[in-house]
């Protein structure tokens, strides 16, 4: 923040303090640990190597190779409103794992390299199966969260596996699932996001190294929240994880996802695929707090976050809810989508995307209404500050058979400062007349009167903006699970620090 305007009544020290905060990223530390890399670049051999490292069945390797061949013929998409230097796909390590995880995979969390555990502790992610909130004696019925921790290319460990097993829930890394439940994986992988869906998803299909696998059997309400925490640590690596969640008839699960990365000058690629399968009467809540390193104020470094997420509501009355708080990443390209195939199925998408400094975000959703009486709701809040560009891009499609389909879309943009941009690109396709689609969008700046009101009551400008912005985001924050909502609220404040002026 070079040219902060010192307004009357604002002390110079306050401004300096604010400036010092600008671009501060809490999770930018690096874990000093020995890492084993696959050779640089991408070839068929690398695909084979990843498959081999994960000790995968033959069919998985074939599937990967097929994807790789398709990928070679694809072109990088350029329609998003983002601008970044061309990625050299041969200058990336496609596989990196801590050496301690290499020889023999730790049998339990106690065997995991303490340095790795420390990393997660530092990030505020408890991997020990103990009371969640430090210093609080948790009562028996305290809400628990099971965590699958992914570090670079491998899963470090998954907590509460035993307890989940009792409920019949399978929660493990996808590499383990390929060994223990290959039939389930084979049945569902690529069934929502096909192998060669788009450029980045195809790349992921070829080189995904790990990720989470969740299977909720019929009628089971998952006894605790599940979560995956992704951490990129190694330099020059890409992270390609694949998450597959299957909710059988009448089941329910709430899944949380978080991510961070060290602060580096060179941009890193993250291309994930998330597939959700939701059967009759089942429900999945998928919440993401994306806080990858956003790069510095001049746009140096940061994560390129190119993610394909899709939910397939296969059964009648299936329900899915995507909630995302996107504060990190240098470039975001992400459209969590819902295919509403079953009659009476429902899709919801709540998003807060905050772009500050040189960040660019092009994100939104697709609601594909195929079944009768399907409903969807989109609430998107985009906030741009600094020199950032923030785009909502979405599709609402009502097919001829989607009788009585309903959609409501609201996307609001807030601009803080006069060097940023906010854009809205909705596609609305309605092919039957019993469907009702409503789309609304507004763009405005932080209301001066609201700011004045807060300032008058003794808040400094930063706090006032954070409060107004929190109010602006309220509808989305309310959709988050409680623990996440707190974190998200704090994140909203942090990522806007230094943006006033």
């Amino acid at each position: 923040m070079s040219d902060v305007i010192v307004k009357e009544g604002v002390e110079a020290e306050t401004v300096e303090a604010v400036q010092a905060l600008g671009g501060k990223y809490k999770y930018g530390f690096e874990t000093d640990i020995e890492i084993e890399y696959a050779p640089l670049g991408l070839t068929e051999d690398i695909v084979r190597l990843i498959s081999e490292k994960n000790e995968e069945p033959e069919w998985m390797l074939e599937w990967r190779l097929e994807a790789y061949k398709r990928w070679l013929q694809m072109e990088e998409p350029d329609w998003a409103m983002v601008d970044y230097p061309k990625i050299d796909f041969q200058d990336i390590y496609y596989y990196a794992r801590p050496k301690s995880m290499a020889e023999e995979k730790p049998k339990s969390l106690d065997d995991v390299d303490p340095k790795l555990l420390e990393t997660y502790a530092k990030l505020g992610i408890p991997l020990k199966e103990q009371a969640l909130l430090a210093g609080v004696e948790a009562p028996e019925e305290e809400r628990k969260v099971a965590v699958d921790a992914v570090f670079d290319s491998v899963s470090v460990g998954t907590t509460f596996q035993e307890e989940l097993k009792k409920a019949g829930v399978i929660f493990m890394s996808i590499s383990e699932a390929l060994k223990e439940h290959p039939d389930l994986v084979k049945k569902y992988i690529g069934s929502v996001v096909p192998q060669s869906d788009n450029f980045y998803a195809t790349l992921n299909s070829a080189v995904f190294s790990d990720g989470s696998f969740v299977y909720i059997p019929e009628g089971v309400k998952c006894p605790m929240e599940l979560s995956t925490y992704f951490r990129i640590n190694a330099e020059n690596t890409g992270q390609f994880e694949r998450t597959l969640i299957i909710a059988e008839k009448g089941s329910y699960v709430s899944y949380l996802e978080g991510c961070t990365a060290p602060q580096r000058d060179v941009a890193q690629l993250h291309a994930a695929v998330v597939e959700l399968v939701i059967q009759e009467d089942a429900e999945i809540k998928y919440s993401t707090v994306q806080n990858w390193y956003p790069g510095d104020e001049d746009g140096k470094g940061g994560i390129y976050n190119f993610v394909t997420k899709r939910a397939d509501c296969r059964g009648d009355r299936a329900k899915v809810m995507w909630t995302q708080v996107e504060t990190g990443s240098a470039v975001t390209w992400k459209y969590p989508s819902c295919i509403l195939r079953g009659d009476d199925s429902q899709g919801e998408f709540y998003s807060i995307a905050i772009a500050n400094n040189m960040q660019q975000a092009d994100t939104g959703t697709k609601m594909i209404h195929l079944g009768k009486n399907t409903k969807s709701r989109i609430v998107s809040k985009g906030i741009s500050a600094g020199k950032a560009q923030n785009t909502y891009r979405g599709l609402v499609s009502m097919h001829p058979k989607a009788k009585d389909g309903r959609n409501y879309t609201q996307c609001d943009s807030l601009l803080i400062g006069d060097k940023c941009g906010a854009h809205t690109v909705p596609y609305i396709e309605v092919k039957n007349n019993s469907a009702r689609v409503e789309h609304e969008a507004t763009t405005s700046k932080v209301d001066d009167e609201q700011l004045f009101y807060c300032r008058q009551r003794g808040m400094d400008e930063e706090e006032a903006v954070a409060l107004v912005v929190n109010g602006f985001c309220k509808e989305v924050l309310q959709a988050l699970p409680m623990e996440f909502a707190m974190e998200a609220q704090a994140l909203v404040a942090i990522s806007l620090e230094g943006s006033v002026g």
Binding site: M81, L415, H423, T424, Y427, N433, S434, H439, T442, T443
Partner: protein
Amino acid sequence: MAVTNPKFEASEALLAAYTTPVGAAWATEARAKAAAHLRAIGAPSKRDEYWKYTNPAALTELPTPSAALFTSDEAPMFDAIDRVKVVFVDGVLDAAQSDDLSLDGVEIETLAEATSKDIHWAKELFGVLEANGQNPVDRPLASLNTAVATEGLVIHVKAETAKPLALRYIHTSESSDAMVHHVIKVEEGAKFTLLESGPGAARFNSVLEVDVADNAEFHHVRTQGRDHERKTATHMYGRLGKESIYRSFTMTVNGMLTRNESVLEFTGDDAQATVGGASAGDGKDFHHDDTVFVTHDSVNCESRQVFKKVLRNGATGVFQGKILVKADAQKTDGYQISQGLLLDDDSNFLAKPELEIYADDVACSHGSTVGAIDEDAMFYMTSRGVPKAQAQDMLVLAFLGEAIDEIDNTDLADDIHARLAAWMERRRG
């Protein structure tokens, strides 16, 4: 680019199919530039982002697809209004049917006359606004028009005019292919109203370039003719000076393919613009597309886009609207609404209402809704004894009426309203 790409083969074929007009050096240069641009971008194709919802094939096909003539006993549009009438038959000016090209405060020339003069003010506008409007979205059919059109009017408005200029486009040949290009300059403080009506030709491609100077006003009302099989691509480019007013409204009923592009740019502060449209389509082969691009590049301007479409029996309505607010265009008030009313299960409404905003002190909003007729309103009326068909027409009229309200001149608005009501009544039988 390799010639194997059908886009480029098609653009070459189109350029070869028309004769390059002869004119003064400046006009030749503008035409050559447009042709070069078309060569570089190629003809439109279904794979282009801005042709995603409308298949341009019938607009670029050679030879020109034919369109049966439509006869109607209704009085020609705008006949009741005191105006100067200019008639184009299949895209060619017909002096015999037209009034004298004289109107106080206005100089009217044909495009051929103006482009033959070595020194002419139109040099600053002809092909210039059209070329500006090629960025960031390609408009290949407009380039083609600039490159080859010989028909059209060049109009210089120097004062407030007493009556409007009405252009009537008559379609008499089943295989006519018309290219019409008008250039209008409205001088500071002047005020001008342009009326357009009729299908024009079996295939009709028009470009209208309008420069509205400071404090000037431009009003435009257009109806596109009921010929069912016609194919139409219109392009309207407006440039707005300080405190100017620009209002355009288009009514479309029937037409196999209509693509109306409007490209407006605010270059002076405190100006206002409205682009509106009402369309009613019936049948699987009705396709109507409004594509609007409004660029705000000055302070405290207001723009409105209001589009309403009523669709039945498999008709398709498309709206692609964009508001671009550049970084310095503070205090912009941008509004955009697109609404589709689907009268049955087979009809389609496809919309892409976009905002691209780089200034922070703005209020921009857009809304888009699609749905069936309001059952409660229907019930209300039928329970009061209004027959169902009539009740539906009343609701449709009220729905389209919100777009017709955007016309300033109440006489014109009433005329359009009455005509629409009559059409509906006739179809009810």
